[in-house]
């Protein structure tokens, strides 16, 4: 069997007595698009932080193409080809949109080449008119796009998206779903999202987190029919 792109073995994160993530075994194939769902506090963001080196796991391992990255630094993991768009847009607020993208592009391109890459990316995320504005002055939705542009500009192998559709209008959600599918043609993705419509638009395989553990992993239609998932997640919404 081929080596998976990403694999976690008994991955665990304890904060004091709280088990945020507990014995998670997760496998992602090359080029796969996976959705992660689960109620608030299920451990999805903590899981992402361990994958990107922002948190060091209490136990267990993270393997990227067979290489153990559980204790690697965030910048080393980024250089291996994992990019992340965090839940709250994590951008350079005090700098222009162009400079934001340039900082990302210049990590892999020479200074001269980077400028061309920046122009392409600005066109792709539709922010050419806003290129010279400070990112901190943009609307939430636009800052999300800036962060997506930043992540794409480093040309990663695997992209983690933490709630990419949060706070977006219906059209923006559709545009984002389209972009996610387009990205998936060349890259693997893990997407955390609450918006079930969005999940339906993009997902094939879905992993459900609950209380720090993997509850179930299945094709999207089966997940949406699964009574257990309804109970912990959808049921709660329906009841509310």
């Amino acid at each position: 069997m081929a080596v998976p792109l990403l694999e976690t073995r008994d991955l665990t994160m304890h904060f004091g007595g709280v088990r945020a993530v507990h014995n998670v075994n997760f496998t992602l194939a090359e080029g796969e698009l996976r959705c992660l769902i689960g109620p608030n506090g299920a451990g999805k963001s903590t899981f992402f932080k361990m994958l990107t080196g922002q948190l060091e796991p209490s136990h267990g391992r993270v393997l990227f193409r067979g290489r153990d990255i559980s204790h690697a630094h965030a910048h080393e993991i980024a250089r291996l080809g994992i990019g992340i768009k965090t839940q709250v847009p994590n951008v350079f607020d005090g700098l222009s949109v162009r400079e934001n993208i340039w900082l990302a592009a210049s990590r892999i391109h020479s200074v001269r080449h980077a400028n061309g890459v920046v122009d392409e990316m600005l066109a792709r995320i539709g922010l050419i008119p806003a290129a010279d504005r400070l990112v901190g002055q943009l609307a939430h939705g636009q800052r999300q796009w800036v962060e997506l542009g930043i992540v794409l500009s480093t040309d990663p192998v695997l992209i983690l998206l933490d709630e990419p559709a949060a706070g977006m209008t219906h059209e923006e959600v559709q545009k984002t779903a389209e972009l996610v599918r387009e990205i998936n043609r060349t890259k693997a993705l893990i997407v955390v999202e609450h918006d079930m419509q969005f999940i339906r638009m993009i997902a094939k395989q879905v992993t459900v987190f609950n209380q720090g553990r993997v509850l179930v992993e299945d094709a999207v239609e089966d997940i949406l029919r699964n009574p257990l998932v309804r109970d912990i997640y959808l049921g709660k919404q329906a009841a509310a």
């Binding site: 922002q54 910048h75 980024a78 990019g83 994590n90 400079e99 900082l103 990590r107 930043i150």
Partner: protein
């Protein structure tokens, strides 16, 4: 594009004013004024070192005086031992840089947070102050150079033309050297900040986590910035030891380290010209206030002669009223005025574009 044009105009302006100042001052000013301007230039280099480290690198260094003092002492001690100034000059840059690299290594690789960084750097300079201050006895010497403790080291030989011990730099030459060095430092830093390295350190200042997630190691960049800052401060220290032919432990003291921070706050963080303006302005004011002799009964004159008091008021006023500093605030006002003048004309011609612009 407009910003780029302004940028070029700014650079040219600094170049022209700087060159004119360099050439004309010794011809028209009295020698004592030239002497005073020389020390302003030297201190402005020191201000630039913190402008880089704090203003652009985001590293809160409260002890920039440590590197300044080390540069001055290194030059003095090496000069007495070697006699020819090329080696001592290089040592006065290299040793503070090495010390900054060592200190920075432990701070940045130890992941020490901002506030503690300030505390540690301040503590380091105060430790140096106390250590050097208590070396008054004849047993404290390096080679033939006595450290002198609180008395300091007097009679430091001046720099000479490289390789020629018999050709020392005179007072006027010192002015040329200090001013040219300041201009070189300014343009050098402008170049550095426009380079890939400079843009990345500003990115790290803006959002260290994001820079890390893009694959940049913030520790390396901060260490490099801090080391360059240490080298520059050391160089300024070397010039300072030359200027007065004297160095004493107060160079490491609280007053000195606080002053550097005040220059940068008043002039404006995130600019280079700001700290130069802040440094020269505050020093000029300090000298002017110091000239007021307190004359007994008149409370106003007494007050005006109290330089630390007046400077304190200025600092508080700036922190409260002009928190971004002089130059960025003036820049904002300038931009605002430009837009105000541009606005009435534009809508009648092309209303749509004016809105976008």
């Amino acid at each position: 594009m407009n910003d780029r044009a302004l940028n070029v105009i700014g650079l040219a302006l600094v170049g022209v004013v700087g060159a004119a100042f360099l050439i004309l001052t010794p011809r028209f000013a009295e020698l004592d004024a030239v002497l005073e301007l020389t020390v302003f230039m030297i201190m402005a280099i020191l201000a630039l070192s913190l402008a880089l480290v704090w203003g652009y690198g985001g590293i809160l260094c409260f002890g920039q005086s440590a590197f300044f003092g080390l540069g001055a002492y290194t030059y003095a001690i090496a000069m007495f031992n070697i006699g020819e100034s090329t080696g001592p000059l290089l040592l006065a840059i290299g040793l503070p840089a090495a010390f900054a690299a060592l200190l920075g290594y432990f701070m940045f690789y130890g992941r020490i947070s901002d506030v503690y960084l300030g505390v540690i750097t301040l503590t380091v300079t105060l430790i140096l102050f106390n250590s050097v201050n208590s070396t008054a006895g004849p047993e404290f010497h390096i080679g033939v150079a006595r450290l002198g403790g609180f008395n300091g080291i007097p009679g430091i030989p001046p720099l000479n033309i490289p390789g020629n011990k018999a050709a020392p730099v005179d007072l006027e030459g010192m002015f040329y050297l200090a001013t040219a060095s300041l201009l070189a430092t300014y343009f050098g830093l402008r170049w550095l900040l426009a380079s890939r390295f400079g843009r990345i350190i500003v990115g790290i200042r803006e959002n260290e986590r994001r820079a890390e997630l893009l694959g940049y190691d913030p520790r390396v960049y901060k260490l490099a910035t801090f080391t360059v800052g240490g080298a520059l401060a050391g160089f300024a220290g070397c010039l300072f030891a030359n200027w007065g032919a004297f160095v004493s432990p107060t160079i490491f003291g609280l007053a000195q380290s606080a002053q550097i921070i005040i220059w940068v706050i008043v002039g404006g963080r995130g600019t280079l010209i700001g700290p130069i303006v802040g440094c020269i302005g505050i020093q000029w004011l300090t000298t002017a206030l110091g000239a007021n002799q307190p004359s007994g009964s008149d409370w106003m004159t007494n007050l005006m002669a109290n330089a630390p008091f007046i400077l304190g008021i200025i600092l508080v006023a700036f922190v409260l009223l002009v928190p971004r500093g002089l130059v960025p605030t003036l820049g904002d006002i300038g931009h605002w005025l430009l837009r105000l003048r541009a606005r009435p004309a534009a809508p009648s011609l092309k209303p749509k574009q004016a809105e976008e612009g």
